[in-house]
Structures are given as structure tokens and as C-alpha cells.
Symmetry: D2
Subunit: 347 residues, 4 copies
Amino acid sequence: MSMNNVFGDLFSVMTFGESHGPSLGAVIDGCPSGVNFDISLLEKDLRQRRPGQSEVVSGRNEPDSPQVLSGVFEGKTLGTPIAIIVNNKDQRSEDYNEIKKSPRPGHADDVWLSKYLHTDYRGGGRSSGRETVSRVMAGSVAKMMVKQLYPDISVLSFCSQVGELKLSQKEVESIVDKATPSDIYNSLVRIPIKDKSKQVEELLLKAKAQGQSYGGLAQVIIKNPPSNLGEPVFNKIKAVLAQAYLSIGATNGVDLGQGFDAVKAEGTEFHSGEASNYGGIRGGITTGETLQMRVSFKPTSSVLDVAKKGRHDPCIVPRAISVLEAMTWLVLADFTLKDRLSRCTGT
Amino acid sequence: MSMNNVFGDLFSVMTFGESHGPSLGAVIDGCPSGVNFDISLLEKDLRQRRPGQSEVVSGRNEPDSPQVLSGVFEGKTLGTPIAIIVNNKDQRSEDYNEIKKSPRPGHADDVWLSKYLHTDYRGGGRSSGRETVSRVMAGSVAKMMVKQLYPDISVLSFCSQVGELKLSQKEVESIVDKATPSDIYNSLVRIPIKDKSKQVEELLLKAKAQGQSYGGLAQVIIKNPPSNLGEPVFNKIKAVLAQAYLSIGATNGVDLGQGFDAVKAEGTEFHSGEASNYGGIRGGITTGETLQMRVSFKPTSSVLDVAKKGRHDPCIVPRAISVLEAMTWLVLADFTLKDRLSRCTGT
Amino acid sequence: MSMNNVFGDLFSVMTFGESHGPSLGAVIDGCPSGVNFDISLLEKDLRQRRPGQSEVVSGRNEPDSPQVLSGVFEGKTLGTPIAIIVNNKDQRSEDYNEIKKSPRPGHADDVWLSKYLHTDYRGGGRSSGRETVSRVMAGSVAKMMVKQLYPDISVLSFCSQVGELKLSQKEVESIVDKATPSDIYNSLVRIPIKDKSKQVEELLLKAKAQGQSYGGLAQVIIKNPPSNLGEPVFNKIKAVLAQAYLSIGATNGVDLGQGFDAVKAEGTEFHSGEASNYGGIRGGITTGETLQMRVSFKPTSSVLDVAKKGRHDPCIVPRAISVLEAMTWLVLADFTLKDRLSRCTGT
Amino acid sequence: MSMNNVFGDLFSVMTFGESHGPSLGAVIDGCPSGVNFDISLLEKDLRQRRPGQSEVVSGRNEPDSPQVLSGVFEGKTLGTPIAIIVNNKDQRSEDYNEIKKSPRPGHADDVWLSKYLHTDYRGGGRSSGRETVSRVMAGSVAKMMVKQLYPDISVLSFCSQVGELKLSQKEVESIVDKATPSDIYNSLVRIPIKDKSKQVEELLLKAKAQGQSYGGLAQVIIKNPPSNLGEPVFNKIKAVLAQAYLSIGATNGVDLGQGFDAVKAEGTEFHSGEASNYGGIRGGITTGETLQMRVSFKPTSSVLDVAKKGRHDPCIVPRAISVLEAMTWLVLADFTLKDRLSRCTGT
């Protein structure tokens, strides 16, 4: 559809809200009736997105208490639009006149001004990372629906590299096999391997002090997906996941399975049977095997923002993990509904 | 939208056609009136997509003569849907009963059957690469519109790696600076540097003889784009280009600007000013600078298809180049129309 | 969606073709796999749409043989887009230069020229009634799917008034109760009551000779619909049926149940229990009872077209009947798929 | 699109909210930047929708103070989604257990339960007339945009019949010529002719006392529209206006121009030149002439609701007027944006 602030065709979420406006919100149209609505899950997901838990990540201190305005009654969804908002409280008294006069380097301030001629220059308006609150709220509802239908499915996202520091292939595999979401969110940098987590924390604290920032890599794993998700041709599930992930700020690459590493592979070896080579997808459709994707992030540009030095995020990946997870659930929810339409069997 | 065979919201193309059915086609809804329609450009674009020009790529020998069924009158578009078809002629007498009984490994045959319960098993049906004929036809019309509005814009796509053989950074830069589409399409493997082209051709001929296949890398460059293309939040131009490219079969990764290489970059260096670091996009919107993207492809799976051995494509990238170009034009056309709606200035 | 030539959200049809261009066509995206495809039904529906069967209606003598280009294999739909075209053959040698210079009064020629600046002036281009060929083809496929799921459902459309000549309430009721589609299509004027049919035929023959034309009324009845069709708020089934019918040329009104006659009704009487008062719809959703709608048509404007005098249609309703039926099936097909998404029960 | 709670393709509004839930709201996606946002107009439009102004109409006593949550900054729209909510306050302590056990006759309670299996039975949930608050808020923003682009355009809606009491053709014409929106909203029953207004008020007071209700007729007039609005084939402006109006509860008919009265007209007379015969539309596109539509409403079913007797609305038309107006502005806003895409002239 041409609506720019809508994601998903059947399980559709429209998001709204400026960084320093009154509220941020998400309205979900297309969630069927009868989904058990778990407000504590929603609150937990929002907490896990929250910056400000540590010195490692910067950010505002917002309680982010979600208010469900519609679509839920007596603990279940009604099949009507589900609107959820959080109000902005901590609107720091930054010198916005500065920003107004000189757009921040590396940010979207000037391209927005070129496009819209009138912008909310306070803290990036809608180009701020704060926009992702809406995605996490919607993703939480998507998760409720998908897990009600497919109880075994799970989505794991974690950080596998910051700057030169990276997990070994073996460490990644062990996370895929054994880590739980709690393992991941218990790490400030979303790396569920203790010593690596510690090393990255130290790197980032130093970077923060020195006015440095790093790029990084996130992994997303979908375990026990149903088969048949994805629509051939333009809406292959890999294509839509890529759109979902690259719609997040600071991302600049995505691959699946062996991805860019498969470029130099020889076909006879590549196709010799390990599922992970394909990343759980064939012909754009899930096979029921585990899906594996990687998303790359560029170094945060706030390093250039003199006004923010010392308060900037030295690497965006730890904050992006819960957003990647949310976008994954939104894609899964949409394709779950789409697959209901594929076959003419019964009504 | 939920239509699975439509790409683009405002400049929308619906494609149809099975590999061994009567015809393949594209219907474009949303092309404005008054675009000069250049049938010879369309024919040329189809020729450049065509496999079968050499021993290096396999494929059917189809004339692919486009028939324009509607939407064009006296050399100009009418603002009504533009339907274009090509008829299938060369429907090789492969032993389809074989395929019917045993889906080809690595292909989508079995996942389609799982999803749809009834499939056209002859040559992959709609999961065949032949489907891209429709994309190239639609991309050609998109190019006509975009170039009429922005005469300086150009799109270059070329192959920069096959297996271990790759262009140096310097060679890539020289192509970005100086190569023309003709330079690219004059190379059978779509590498506009003579000796590298020769080496890759030899590699692929050998692979073909030996039943081997390789992955590869394609680059897409957009020169002189207008600024303001891309819609913030979910429809950032990087996100939609990624969807466009990963909707092509055998792709498994996309990045832009420094992409995956920026993971290990330090922020102070990364943001020191070279446009190519950002890939011509900020905040999801074009800045007017050159856009650079890379797309990775896995080794072709037809290497596993015993029936096809000796006739298989040893690397898909050469055949994918014109499809990547077409998808790029479709994205540009759609965002060109979308940007008309951004500002309330005049009617 | 913003696509102007698409009808339906899930069972979506994109139509194309100019009156005097090479072909007219419909591409259906969203028809599930496994629908038994009945080509003879499609051909029959096209015959029933065809003008030229008699002196009463004008029109070209086109065979309208449908060609199915994709989406059907071994007698069943594949779940891929179904493209169907008919080629134009009889392109009468009217003096198009006349029309080019002076747009026909009452036609859309001049408003199209104002909007698009460039038009196909031959026979109205896409504003011609010939465009409805595409609707009938798509409606035929919709009917195949809906009847496979709900074998008892039927759609009846017939003419109930031409000028001052109208059926009595009792005659309408008897048709609703007992008439079959064959009864209707056996009447040249689509009135399945012999003497009334005869009277209207005579009226129209006289009108044709005298250069006169009449408005008229059509009825559409849906018998044995499933309940639960229709989506509350903006996509109430009454709203979407109204859009469907008023998208047909020359229509200028639609009502359902008692419709305009209920304006003067008293509530205590109106709500005293006869289903037909509601027209089978409550809250925008089907109740399982019979739906009844009426559509009004203005007198044909071709009466003003000096060039056509003696060859004009003296009343459009007889030709519109099969188009109303087709649009009804399209709405039913779309809502049938939509209702699959309402409840979260099972996968 | 398949989203059921969205109206409009380019100027799109998603609405949410149950009658007795926390809030009702509208989010507009697609309003361009730079529209002067007039909060006092929004408040005024909401006041004009409000029931409870008199004995003639029933309803809750809600202040309906709109809160703009996003999309507006320093008095102008940003081009980002505009979210507006009103909170529900007056949630009457009706005996909902009664409703839960026995769905109200003539209402949508039972059809919703059939479709969704789980409903908010308090006051109709989302099938309540209270849902129209969202429409009026969105329509108000649409009006701001359209009037900024076309300052001369105006929309008038008024009541022209209640039960047997109706305005003469001459009275209707005089309203079309001379009445202002204030004239209309100053009448409790939205009839800007003093004695007729008085007579209808008396009729309705009596009906209320006697437990009676009436159907009625509303008129909608668009004066000084731009030409070129409307998209041929499926999105003719008449078709989309019909959908818009019939998406309002209790409506059961719509016509335009002479509408149902033209059925018996002879063509030579009908086409003799008076614009109003066509209702300002030709080929589905505005000609720049005045548009005239009529919408019929059935008698309110709350007359059957024993619990509400004495508090019911004896006729819905007076309350529907501002909703018809809002829907008209939404259609105009959407087509205004669509027409920007019709022609390829400049960028």
C-alpha cells in the first residue's frame, strides 16, 4: 500500500509519533479476534527496548507505560483495531534552536527538511530512534498471535560483533542451539556469552569516554517456524524480512543463511545438504527449518554531534536487538495470515 | 498491499505467467499519461535479459517479442494500464513426469507443492527464472518515465565477483566512474573490464563442463538520482531496494554503501565525509549523491539436477544483472510518484 | 489500494484494455489454488454479456473467445495470477477524426482529455462499455471459487423497469423466488416474465427507431449467502457492493432492502421482522438471509450521438445485467477470503 | 487495501475505538506537510457532531475534547501521521449483563458475535454510532488540506426528509443556492428552513414520547469542486462516495444527480443540458460543476430496544449530517492527491 507508516498487509500496523511530541503509538488493524492479550508481555518487551539501563547505552529515562486504547476486552482481542500509546515525559531541554539552525551531521535532519520543508527539529522528530517504541509494541502483539497458533516457534536476536570484537562461529552456533531470550536480555550488550559481553561492554565504555563509535552485527534466528510462510515472487519471506530490518535506522546490510560468505562457495559443496546454507528458506518460502539472518549496522553518527558527546550511543546494535525481534514477529504474523489464503480447502 | 504478484504502490506492476504456460506478462497500473513509449528500448532490454547468447549461460532460445496490449496510443502512455506479454514458444520436451515424481533438489518444487498442493511442475512453473521476463518489461517502462522526468539519472548493474574471482576496489570504482550500460552488456558475464570478463568466462565454461557452479556478487549503482526519494520509517529507499533485490531467486544478501564492511569501522573515520560510506542515502531518503548497493547470490542449485548437467547455469549473476536493473527502475518510478505527495504546495 | 484499475483486496482483479486497442484483459491475483476451472462457464458468461444478439441492443459483433494465459494447470487454479484476454477484432471504421475534433456529448471523452491530456479517442478508449468484458471474465472465476466453497449460493440479476414500464412488486417477488439465470438470459431484455419482456422489447425497438433512450432499474439478488461476509466500519458489504455497482457506467443510484422506500417508513413497522427490510445485511455483515439490491441507470447518452443514431442502445440495463452479476461475485469472493482472517481459531 | 478500518488510499485514515473503551481515535497517514492545522475547526466539527444538544436527539454527554498526539508542529502538518484521540468519559451504567445475554433486536450485536465469537457487548462496541467521532476528526483534517488547495470549494449536507415530512424541490434548490453550513447546524434537525425545521422537531419529539422512529433523507452538495477528481473504472468518484456514505450505519441507499428519478426519464430530455441531471460527474470524474447526492436512512432500530425507550433517537439523519460531510471531505482529499499522479508533466 502507499501508506508510508504502515507495515504489513493483513496484520497491519500504523505507527505515529514524534520524538518530542505528546505520544508515540501503534494501531494494529487485522489482528483476528480471540488472541489472548498479555499486557505483562507488552510491558516486558518495552522494558527490554528501553535505553537508559546502563552506562553503555545512552538515552532518555522514560517509563514507557503502554496504554491500550482499543481492541481488547476481557483479556482477548476483539478483531477490531488495537491502539496502544506511550506518552513522552522526559523531553530534555536541549538547545533546539541550535539544531534548528544547524542540522546535525550524519543525521536525517537536513534530508527531512529538503523533503518536507517543515520539520520537528527537536531530537529528530520522527527520524529519532524513539520511533521504534511503536514497533516494539506492535511486535509484542504479533508475538501473542503467532505463539498462540504455533506454540513452539521462537525468535532470538543477539549481537555478534561490535567493531573488531566478534563471536566465533562456534559461539554463534551455541547461542542458536541453547540461548533463551532471557540470556540475551540479561546482557547489557545483548551478547549471551559472559566474557564476550564483558569485553564489548568495556570497549563501549571506553568509546563513550573517547567520543568514538562502532558499527556492529546482529543475528536473528527463527526456530521452529511453520512451513509455507512466504509468498513467491515479490513477497518472498527473505525479501520482506530484509525490508523489515533495513527499515531500521543505521542498518546497511542484511543477509541470510551463509549470505555474503556463499559468494565464493562452490555449488557442489554448498548444496551438499546443510540446511543453514539456505537459511531455512527455499523459493522464498519457509521449509520448517531454522531461519538465520544477519544485519549490519554502521557506526552511530551521534559521535559527530558535539552537543551529545559523552552522552552518545557508542554502538547502536544493543538497542536494536529488541526492534529486530519485533520486526521479525510482525513479518511472521503477516505471513501467517497470508498463508490462510493460499489454498481453496474448506471455508 | 496483499497482492503477492504486485510490486510498487503507485507505479504498480502485476506480473503473471508460468515458465511453460502460454505467456508471461506484466500489467502496469499507475504509469501517468504522457510518457513517450519507446518500443525499441523495451525490445533491447528484453534482449539483454535473454539467456542463450553464449555457451556461458544456458537457457531456452526464445525470441521474446513483446506485444503491447493496452495503455499506449500514438506513441504515448494513456494513463491507463499498460499490459505487455511475450508468448512462450520453446517448451522443451523435458521429461516432466520425472520432475513430477521427484522434485529437483535445491529448487522450490517441493515447497510450492507443500504450500499450494497443486503446482505446474514443468520447469518450475512460476518459480522459474523465466518469471523475470515480466520484471524486465515493467522495468523498461519505469525507466521511460523516470528518465523523462530526470534525464541525467542512470542505473548501472554489473558483476563484480564469481567464486573467488573478483574485481579490485579500484576496478569497481573505475566502472562506477566511466562504464556505460553498453560496456556492461557487451560482456557475456556483465563485467565491463576485458581481462576480468575473459577470466570469468573461462571459469564458467570449465564449471559447466565439470558440473560445478559458483555464487557471485552484483553491484548496482544509481548515478544522479534526484534527492527526496524514499519515505521515512517503513519505506526507506534502502529497505524497498533490499526487498526488490531479495525478491529475485538465488539472492541471499544485500548491503549498501560500505555495508557489511562498515561493521568494523570506527565512527570518527566512517563519518569523515565520503559520500559512498552512506551509499547516497540518509534517513532512508536519497541525498542526490550516487547510490551503491551490492547483492550476493548463492551457487545455482541446478548443478544438482542430474537431468540438466551440462546445460545448467554455472553462475546466475550474469543473467541477473538486467533483472536487478529493472527492479531498480521500478523502485525509482514508485518513489518518484510518492514524492509528489509529500508537500502541500500548489495542486 | 491506490491502483485505479484493481478491484478487490484479497481476491484482486486488475483489468486493462482500450475499446479499440489490441486486447482486453483481466489478471486475478489472490485466487487460491485448487479451484476447479470451468472454461465453458467462462465462455458462457462472456456470451451472456455480448451485445449484438438482437435488434434491441446495439454493439459490435465480437466472438470474445477468452484465452487463459496463466494460473491454471490441468483444470485447476495454481494459486498464481490468472490472466485472461480477449482480442478485439471488429474495430469498425468509424470516422474517428470526427470524434477527435468534437467529443461526443454526454460521453466521457472531454473529461478524460482534461484529466489525461492524451486519450485514445476511438470509441471511448477505456471509458467504453467494452471495458466490462474484463469484469465479466474475472467475475466468472470468482463465481467458480465461491460456488466451490458455498454450493448453494446463487446470484440473480434482472431488469425490473425501463422508462415507465415496470414489474409489479409481486412479479419481482416471484422472480426472486423462482427464476433461474437461464430464465433471465433467455430474455433479450433480461426480464424473466414473458409478456413484460415482450413489451419492453417493443418499447426499445420503437425508441431505437425514433432516436429515443430510457433509463431503467436492475435488481440484484443473492440467495443463500453464507453469514459473516462483510467487514464492519468502512468495508460493510453494502458499501462495497454500492461501490462495485456504481463503478459501472451510466449508473446513478443504488439501494438495498426497502432502500429509498424506507425513508417514509415508521420504525415500529419497519422493524417488525421481515428480513427483506434489511436486505439480508445487519451491521454491514451478511446474516445468511437473501440480499436484495436495486441499481438505477440513466438514459443512454449515445442518443445524442448523431453519428450513432439508429445504432445506439436505447436502454443500457439489458447489457448491464451480466456485469452487475460479475461485480457481485467479485465482492463475494473478496469477502469470502477476508472472513478467513477474522478469528484466531486454528491455523 | 485489506485493512478494514482504513479509509482512503493516499490520504488514508485508520480509525479505532470501542463505544465504551478508553478512547476513540483516528490516525491520518498521507496528509502532506505544510497544511495549516486549525484546532478550533476540529473542535467545532466535533461539537457539530455531538448528540445531546437537545431533546430531539439522544446520546451521551461527552465533551469530546480532541488531543492531537502527533504529526503537527508549530501550527502546520509535518507530513507524518496525525493521530487524534478523544477519551470516553460518560460510560453510562447500563445493565450490560442484559445485553450480553440478549442481543438487541435490529442491532449488530448478534452478527458481530457470529463473526468474531468475542465482542465488547457494552453499547455496541465498535458498531456503535460513537465510532463516527473518528470519522469527523479525520474529515476535519481533510477539509483543512482541500480548502488550502481549493479555497472556493464547499460541502453542504442537510436533512431533506423525515418520515412523510419533506422539503419541496424548490426548497432544496434554495438551500443549494444560498445556505451556509452555519444555517444548517443552527437547526437541531439540520434543516436550514425555519418552519420545516420546526415541524420536524415536533414530529421527532412526539415520536420519542411514543416510542416511534422514522427513516429520512440527507442531501450532500459539493460546490465549486475542481475538475479531474475521480479515477475511471473502479474508482469513479460516484462509486467511492457511495461506499463512503453506505459505510455509515443505518444507510440503505444513495443516488446522485436525478438518481432514481431518472429511471423513467427519456434520454432526449435528460440529456438536454441541465448539469444537475448528471450530478456534476461524467465518466466518474468531476466536471467542475456542482455535485448532488442523496442518502437514505432506515428508521432507527433502537426503537425496539425496550431498555432505551424514551432515550432513543427517533431519526438518525440529524446526527448523520456531520458524518456525511466528513466522509465527503475524506473522499475529496484522497482524490485530490490521486489526481497529482495522473499526468507526467514536470516532476
